[in-house]
């Protein structure tokens, strides 16, 4: 499906900022950048509904970097918070007690801990009820705000504070990353998309597309995390770009369940180039390279893109580990 878009190049990135400069998050945080871009695409009239995570502490009384509405709910139930706000606004407008000009776009914003783990039940409920809302998950692949513990979004081979690398456990986390995109798609959400802050036009267009649809619109943003992943904060965008180029983070969308990749790397960069940039994967290379594990990761990426190539008739040159 293609729609007329106002976002052709990065120059079309709206200049309005709804997030004041200066907040309490780490330099190079992919999460807050995602909020900033998302907000630009949605415009001013937003109610952000937050689940516990890094963003929660940006809104510390008496300050707020946001020029829009904010409600912190709890770890597990931000989508239900969105339900209450959406329903209340609809009721008040229907009863003539609130002018339409006061309407808000209701956006849940959470990290992967809430989206993949503790809040999945509440999200499922909101999707079942066809709630007209947006979900922006900034996915940094672990519980970042508590200091980087494993979540079900943590990829195979990542060390975290609860999957530390030891002689008996040389790979750190050995469970594959949960496929939340497919979980959400299976629940028949009308729109599901992945985002990367490194691909701003793709990002803006997907949010724009969401605004044309009713119902649950769900986004997973690949949010580079300098403190958790272990890299210099100036490299955030480069690392996100590398995740896309290596095929680690596919940019895609599902409209009414039909999946389409919005960016297909013609030739996958070997995943080791991505893994090498981050402390959390350092044990895969030091003291000795764990070639088998790196091959396992590369094989899983290759098999994913082989299927994409065959499903969508695309040309993808796979990488060797």
């Amino acid at each position: 499906m293609s729609i007329a878009t106002r976002f052709k190049t990065l120059r079309d990135m709206p200049t309005e900022d709804y997030l004041a400069p200066g907040n309490t998050l780490c330099a190079g945080c992919g999460g807050i950048l995602a909020v900033r871009i998302f907000h630009k695409a949605l415009g001013a009239n937003v109610a952000w509904v937050n689940a516990a995570g890094c963003l929660t502490v940006t809104m510390t009384y008496p300050l707020s970097p946001l020029k829009s509405n904010w409600l912190y709910t709890a770890f597990a139930s931000a989508p239900a918070g969105a339900q209450g706000i959406r329903d209340a606004l609809d009721i008040l407008m229907a009863k003539g007690r609130l002018p339409k000009s006061e309407d808000l776009k209701v956006v849940v914003v959470s990290g992967d801990g809430a989206a993949y783990d503790i809040g999945l039940q509440s999200t499922a409920g909101a999707i079942d009820r066809r709630l007209d809302f947006y979900y922006l998950c900034y996915d940094n692949e672990a519980y970042g705000n508590t200091g980087f513990q494993m979540s079900s979004s943590t990829p195979y081979g990542s060390s975290t504070k609860t999957t530390p690398v030891t002689p008996a456990f040389p790979l750190g986390n050995t469970v594959a990353k949960k496929n939340l995109f497919e979980v959400w798609r299976a629940m028949k959400a009308p729109y599901v998309a992945t985002l990367s802050n490194s691909h701003g036009v793709d990002f803006l267009r997907k949010v724009e597309k969401g605004t044309t649809m009713k119902g649950p619109k769900l986004y997973i943003d690949f949010a580079a995390c300098p403190t958790g992943w272990g890299f210099d904060s100036r490299d955030s965008i480069e690392i996100e770009k590398s995740a896309v180029q290596t095929g680690v983070w596919p940019l895609k969308e599902a409209v009414d369940g039909v999946v389409r990749h919005t960016f297909v790397p013609r030739s996958l960069t070997p995943v080791r180039e991505y893994l090498k940039t981050q402390e959390r994967f350092r044990h895969l290379f030091e003291p000795a390279e764990k070639t088998e594990a790196i091959n396992t990761i590369q094989a899983s990426i290759n098999s994913y893109w082989e299927k994409v190539a065959s499903d969508e008739g695309a040309q993808v040159r796979l990488a060797e580990a």
């Binding site: 510390t60 946001l66 139930s77 706000i85 329903d87």
Partner: protein, 407 residues
């Protein structure tokens, strides 16, 4: 008595409709379910102008209830027992948000073991949440307290959520005559809800912001406490107006045969009626017995308790709940209300009974009063009473024997 025969659950639903609630997020649980089924019927028939949404858990239900209240809707919901505990995290949040929603709790004992009939461990688990609490003895009180709860909760001096409690089975499924007020008079009593700083496009707000410093956190928590304290006065004002309009008087507590009473039982909820009967029987035997019913539980009516129990010989506190390792939950709150009182009662007897809906007979109530008399006459230190009759104990022993495989 005039009125129609209504269950406690129907009375709760009827009051919610009379309060013109905008929004009812719901989740089923026994013995509350009839409330949300009734409302679902009315909304779908078009006889109640509200939006009804079934959530996927009580935790989400209370989240949606609170956030809708912050966005400007008058919100009603109901739960019981495990549901209230499942939502507990959000009770504290909603109170901190200062969202004046009203929730009915239909009391039911807590698992394990799982049980259906009432005691008050569920509702009293919410005692520190910041929700106001009003407890009902009759189905009439259920309806009236729901209306009063909105009036108090939404008052700008209060702005706190409220719980109205009724006992499962004993009220929820029991038909009693209930006089439902007419809509016009209710509208006079309960004006439309005016939210404070709602989420709006033209005037954005940040709600539920984090606080990283203890002094600011303390400030907000003290504010909740102060607002709950103001609810005492606001309740009295509202109750006065309620009496003028509807002819039924409600205080934070209610005395029964207290004038010259020397032995007074403090009790709450539906078993209050059993207490009243016991007082009557004791009076017939020439014992100066009396009763004090707790209706407003949060804020706790310490002053009223002190005023009404001054000079009594012995007070018994009937706790239909149990805090293992401590005893009844009301007991220390009543004792604290009396400690600094000149002319305080000589002794306070802790009584625990009615857990999981265990029936309390007249004989058990009489035993409680007899114990109070014995404490007074013999100068004994009260030791806690845990009510269980011999015939019940025999049945327990039989069940245990079956469970252990004895024939």
């Amino acid at each position: 008595m005039k009125g129609q025969l209504l269950t406690g659950n129907a009375a709760a639903a009827s009051a919610a409709r009379l309060a013109r609630v905008d929004y009812v997020p719901a989740y089923p649980i026994t013995p509350q379910t009839e409330i949300i089924e009734t409302i679902a019927d009315w909304v779908r028939e078009g006889t109640m102008d509200s939006k009804f949404v079934q959530l996927e858990s009580e935790h989400s239900m209370v989240t949606a209830a609170g956030s809708a209240s912050l966005a400007g809707a008058r919100v009603f919901t109901a739960t019981s027992s495990q549901g209230l505990l499942y939502a507990m995290e959000m009770l504290y949040n909603v109170a901190g948000w200062r969202a004046p929603m009203v929730m009915v709790n239909v009391s039911r004992g807590l698992a394990a073991p799982i049980v259906l009939e009432p005691d008050h461990n569920d509702i009293l688990a919410a005692r520190d949440s910041g929700f106001l609490q009003f407890h009902s003895e009759t189905c009439q009180e259920v309806a009236d307290l729901v209306l009063l709860a909105y009036r108090v909760a939404e008052d700008r001096r209060v702005m706190l959520p409220a719980l109205v409690n009724l006992d499962g089975f004993y009220l929820s499924f029991t038909r009693e005559p209930v006089v439902l007020p007419d809509q016009e008079t209710v509208d006079r009593f309960l004006p439309p809800y005016e939210p404070l700083n709602p989420l709006r496009a033209t005037a954005p707000v940040a709600r539920g912001s984090s606080v990283m410093e203890g002094h600011i956190y303390s400030y907000f928590r003290y504010n909740v406490h102060a607002a709950a304290g103001r609810a005492r006065e606001v309740f009295s004002e509202a109750a006065n107006e309620f009496e003028e309009l509807f002819g039924r008087a409600y205080g934070p507590v209610e005395g029964y045969m207290l004038d010259d009473a020397e032995y007074v039982l403090v009790i709450s909820n539906s078993f209050t009626s059993l207490g009243r009967q016991a007082v009557k029987r004791m009076r017939e035997r020439g014992v100066p017995a009396g009763l004090l019913k707790l209706r407003m539980v949060r804020p706790f009516p310490s002053e009223e308790i002190a005023t009404m129990l001054r000079g009594r010989k012995v007070v018994g506190v009937f706790d239909q709940n149990l805090a293992p390792g401590s005893g009844g939950i009301f007991y220390p709150e009543v004792a604290a209300s009396l400690y600094h009182l000149k002319g305080r009662p000589n002794a306070i007897l802790p009584v625990v009974g009615g857990l999981g809906g265990k029936q309390i007979t007249g004989k058990e109530m009489a035993a409680v009063f007899e114990e109070m008399i014995a404490i007074d006459r013999e100068g004994k230190t009260p030791s806690p009473m845990f009510l269980m009759r011999d015939d019940e104990l025999a049945r327990v022993k039989k069940a245990v024997a079956v469970a252990e495989g004895e024939s």
